[in-house]
């Protein structure tokens, strides 16, 4: 029980609060804050369950993409805000940092390793979120068309 708490629940809670912090920076108000937080927590949970790999990041961002699209449809708001904030915990900031550390230390092998892993994470995030968004749009084209300027 304690394992589940410290392995999954606490990190998700932190991801939730971190995303809520970002909503202040991006000027998101009201229910939007909650949606962003839940999106971030959901993404992080799936990332943890998937084993923190590049593939896990892909599934996590796919889930975030789907979640944000549904929420945007429900609230009739642009999807951008929810997607941007919820994806932020997964962005490989650590990768950039460690790549820099290895580069400065002259450890070329690990530098290239980390750099490629960082690029892999970034592409997984981008492709995952975009794929679900495109599939969602293909599945519900009438929603897209019947409302102006979605």
């Amino acid at each position: 029980m304690l394992g589940i708490w410290s392995d999954y629940i606490l990190p998700c809670l932190c991801a939730f609060l971190a995303c809520v912090g970002f909503t202040l920076v991006f000027n998101i108000h009201g229910v939007g804050k909650l949606i962003c937080g839940v999106g971030g927590a959901l993404g992080w949970l799936i990332y943890l369950l998937g084993g923190s790999s590049i593939l896990a990041a892909f599934w996590a961002s796919a889930a975030i993409g789907l979640f944000s699209e549904i929420m945007a449809r429900l609230r009739r708001c642009p999807v951008t805000g929810y997607l941007l904030v919820a994806l932020l915990p997964l962005v490989p900031g650590g990768g950039i940092y460690y790549a820099m550390r290895y580069c400065v230390a002259g450890d070329t092998q690990r530098f290239l390793d980390t750099l490629l892993h960082t690029f892999g994470m970034a592409s997984a995030l981008a492709v995952g979120a975009m794929m679900t968004a495109s599939l969602f749009r293909a599945a519900y084209p009438h929603l897209h068309r019947s409302r102006p300027a979605r």
Binding site: L10, P11, C14, A15, L17, A18, C19, V20, G21, F22, T23, L24, V25, F26, N27, I28, H29, G32, W44, C77, P78, T80, G81, L83, L84, L87, L88, P89, V91, P92, G93, G94, I96, Y97, Y98, A99, M100, R101, C103, V104, A122, L125, A126, V127, A129, M130, A133, S134, R147, P148, A149
Partner: protein, 251 residues
């Protein structure tokens, strides 16, 4: 109908949308739909991240074009949602142009006070540090580092300048210096964890996501320019952090 006025209103709306961080297709489609709602046949809209061009032909066949350049901007979701709502409303109701202009001028809605935004810059890194394996001390250090970076971004713009590469580099240097100092003072445990947590507020997640959205939507020019932006930002973070750690290593 006064087509000059209509053109001005539509360009203004496109400009507002763009500066709130909307995607290219949203800007182009919103402006096009607005002009079509007011009875123009084939308005042409072209947008890239820092420029909007709208060209219309009046029913008499007289062409009018207007271009607006948009300065560097952040992301303001509240403004984006309000612009989107307004555009939808204008398209359905098509009120007289004076009224539309009034609605457009009344657009900027609520925004957080500077201290709240600063708090946001502090909260986000603080809660990122447990995700990267930090303890209580690291969380507090990340909070302070985030506040320092937020302070630089919000208040020190005059000294840092408006160049976003340079600004990101300086903020990353501040982030790594503050983290190094706090760890030396014994508050944080790991420089790496604290620095990474603080860097999360500078990381080009927004630019990266936007870049992929543009490319998927078929706006290749804008997508590539945003992708270049995100790679440059990442490079600026790496350079800034390296410089910060090097300066910190001197003492």
């Amino acid at each position: 109908m006064n087509y000059d006025k209509l053109l001005n209103i539509s360009v203004e709306l496109g400009c507002r949308l763009m500066s709130s961080g909307a995607e290219i297709y949203r800007v182009e489609e919103s402006v096009r739909r607005l002009l079509q709602a007011y009875g123009l046949d084939s308005p042409e809209v072209f947008a890239i991240p820092n420029c909007v061009i709208v060209s219309i032909a009046t029913p008499e066949g007289h062409p009018i074009t207007r271009m607006r350049r948009i300065a560097g901007h952040g992301t303001d979701i509240e403004l984006l949602e309000r612009c989107n709502d307004l555009c939808r409303r204008l398209c359905v109701q098509t009120p007289p142009l004076e009224e539309a202009q009034g609605l457009l001028d009344a657009l900027p809605g609520r925004s957080y006070a500077p201290w709240q935004v600063l708090l946001g810059y502090g909260i986000a890194p603080a809660f990122f540090s447990p995700l990267f394996g930090g303890g209580v001390g690291d969380t507090l250090s990340a909070l302070m580092g985030g506040l320092a970076v937020g302070f630089c971004l919000l208040y020190a713009g005059r000294f840092i300048g408006s160049n976003s590469f340079f600004r990101t580099a300086i903020c990353s240097a501040v982030a790594s210096l503050v983290s190094l100092m706090l760890v030396r003072l014994g508050l944080g445990r790991s420089v790496d964890t604290v620095t990474i947590s603080v860097l999360m507020v500078l990381v080009p997640g927004v630019a990266l996501t936007n870049a992929m959205r543009e490319i998927m939507a078929g706006d290749i020019i804008s997508g590539l320019s945003r992708a270049a932006d995100s790679i440059l930002t990442a490079a600026a973070i790496a350079i800034g952090t390296a410089v910060g750690l090097a300066i910190g290593g001197l003492f």
